[in-house]
């Protein structure tokens, strides 16, 4: 009887979470599996099509292009994000009168709404009237009468989107690094400097290795978050020029809601899930091996 009472108590505490979790996470997972075997429109379920959606996906060049675009974004933003976050943390960790200002300045963009940040990027990167080209003209880097077409040239569009993303989101990782740096005991540095270590050496031999676990965590979270990129690209380039920056989520959205094919969209969602799952597992294995060694 007592056991039952305890189970019941636990259930009451778990119930609110379980309800929303099952209804809006688990059940959609199951529903998605079902939908991927159907021709399914925004209005209703149409008919069972077996593995058709999956076959179509494997032969859909546009889908694989979108996967590739998201991958480009991951490679473009992840390493730069980590390097930039460490550099900013080094700046904000130095004793100076402006220390607090640096910390606030680097973090401030992170609180902007995603659309505010994206439109800011969109307007700043415009040719002729944009702020970035204006600065380049002002500094004499860009010759008078010349313009850089950031948003209509695929490789430049990637740079613009990546730069905006770094500016807007590096704040979180910066804070994580900053607090990790502040946790490293001063004695270690003091001992190192008694041994005659130079500043640069201390960074590579002490600071960086001591922050290893935080770097691994950021790497993991950043890769997964970057694969899910959508909004900045949607606003800044609309996936263009000519779909050359369209990420997975945008293609899923367009297939489902513009082309009225939820079944196919659900199939591709599963593929995205599979990609992220494989990445998580690889990450997990790599981490565990390092810790065992």
């Amino acid at each position: 009887m007592k056991k039952l009472r305890i189970d019941l108590q636990a259930l009451i505490f778990l119930l609110p979470f379980l309800i929303v979790y099952v209804l809006f996470t688990i059940w959609p997972m199951i529903k998605g599996a079902q939908m991927s075997f159907y021709k399914w429109t925004l209005i209703r379920k149409m008919k069972y099509v077996g593995w058709d959606n999956f076959q179509r996906m494997f032969h859909d060049d546009q889908f694989w292009a979108a996967v590739w675009h998201s991958t480009i974004f991951v490679f473009l933003t992840t390493p730069t994000m980590i390097v930039l976050a460490i550099a900013l943390a080094l700046i904000a960790n130095r004793k100076s009168k402006l220390q607090k200002l640096y910390r606030s300045a680097f973090f401030l963009p992170s609180i902007l709404s995603v659309s505010v940040a994206s439109y800011l990027g969109l307007f700043m990167f415009q040719p002729y009237t944009g702020f970035i080209n204006g600065i380049l003209h002002g500094l004499g880097i860009l010759a008078e009468g010349k313009e850089i077409f950031w948003l209509t040239e695929p490789s430049l569009a990637w740079i613009a989107v990546a730069a905006l993303t770094l500016w807007w989101t590096v704040g979180f990782n910066f804070i994580l690094y900053l607090s990790a740096m502040q946790e490293i005991p001063d004695e270690i540095y003091e001992a190192a400097s008694l041994d005659g270590a130079a500043k640069g050496q201390m960074f590579w031999r002490i600071t960086l290795p001591m922050m290893n676990s935080i770097t691994r965590m950021i790497l993991m979270l950043q890769i997964i978050a970057s694969y899910k990129v959508f909004m900045q690209i949607y606003i800044i380039t609309g996936g263009g020029p000519l779909d050359s920056t369209r990420p997975i989520i945008q293609y899923i959205y367009q297939s489902g809601f513009k082309k009225n094919d939820l079944g196919y969209a659900a199939t591709m969602s599963y593929m995205l899930f599979a990609i992220l799952l494989v990445l998580s597992i690889i990450q997990y294995i790599v981490n565990n091996r390092k810790e065992a060694a």
Binding site: Q9, V20, T25, I26, S96, L120, F131, W167, L276
Partner: protein, 268 residues
């Protein structure tokens, strides 16, 4: 050498702040002014007329409110619901605990974006599209918050719990008097991350809302921007108005926010 560091530091701070300053200054410029050089962006004449037009002529302020309302409710409920589940997992010795733990842990692997298409169908079946409820309840399940909070609850000594039990206190009392107060920094950390996540949630409102009275900012701003083509003043007024409330919040709670984020790194 010291000066090199200093100059680099100041340049970096400028790179982060100048776009915001630009946004602010352009928003108070008079409409229709010609900008031919870099400094024209920052020179008078200034005017606040467009602010009045945007505030009275659009639903923007309604959307600012909606964003705060939805993010606020989602934050409170998410943290409460997660803390309750975490308490059961941490301190109540029920049967099937390990299974329950793994069932919730598995949720960490499911990205919201991967279930959004079926979620649309599920919400449609439950008549949750186009409603505050639909925005809120679909966002409440955070396995991450449960797992993190469980970690913090595990660190609370059982002696404390037993002492409350001796005084005849039940599970609710333990939860309210011991668990929640002792883990306040962790709860605040989860709350801040949840709030920012909800504040920036774009995909779900984008798919589930068609009634513009219910829009949140990420969803509403693009519908306004597409109507403005003459110059940047109106767009920047929209951007500024959307950002002022959250910037004020940030200034007030900066220490807690920074602490909250640092804390999430230590446990993660």
């Amino acid at each position: 050498m010291k000066w090199v560091y200093r100059i680099i530091s100041v340049i970096a701070a400028c790179v982060f702040l100048v776009p915001l300053v630009w946004m602010l200054v352009v928003s108070i410029k008079q409409e229709g002014m010609k900008v031919s050089g870099l400094f024209d962006w920052f020179t008078p004449p200034y005017s606040l007329a467009v602010y009045g037009q945007i505030i009275s002529g659009t639903k923007l302020m309604q959307w600012v409110w909606n964003s705060f309302f939805v993010a606020g409710v989602v934050t409170v409920l998410t943290v409460l619901v997660a803390a309750m589940a975490a308490y059961a997992l941490s301190k109540i010795p029920f049967r099937f605990k390990a299974i329950m733990f793994f069932f919730i842990l598995a949720g960490l692997l499911v990205p919201g974006e991967a279930t959004i298409i079926p979620l649309y169908q599920v919400a449609k079946d439950m008549h949750l599209l186009n409603s505050y409820q639909g925005l809120i309840v679909t966002a409440l399940a955070s396995p991450m918050a449960v797992i993190v909070l469980k970690g913090f609850f595990d660190g609370i000594p059982n002696d404390l719990i037993e002492s409350v039990q001796m005084d005849g206190g039940g599970v609710w009392k333990i939860f309210a008097v011991i668990m929640l107060p002792l883990t306040r920094p962790a709860l605040a950390s989860m709350a801040i991350l949840t709030f920012i996540g909800s504040w920036n949630n774009f995909l779900w409102p984008f798919l589930s809302l068609t009634n513009d009275k219910l829009f949140t900012l990420p969803m509403g701003i693009p519908t306004l921007m597409s109507q403005y083509s003459e110059d940047y003043v109106k767009p920047m007024v929209v951007n500024t108005l959307s950002s002022i409330p959250i910037i004020i919040l940030f200034v007030i709670f900066e220490r807690q926010i920074i602490k909250g984020i640092s804390l999430s790194g230590i446990k993660g």
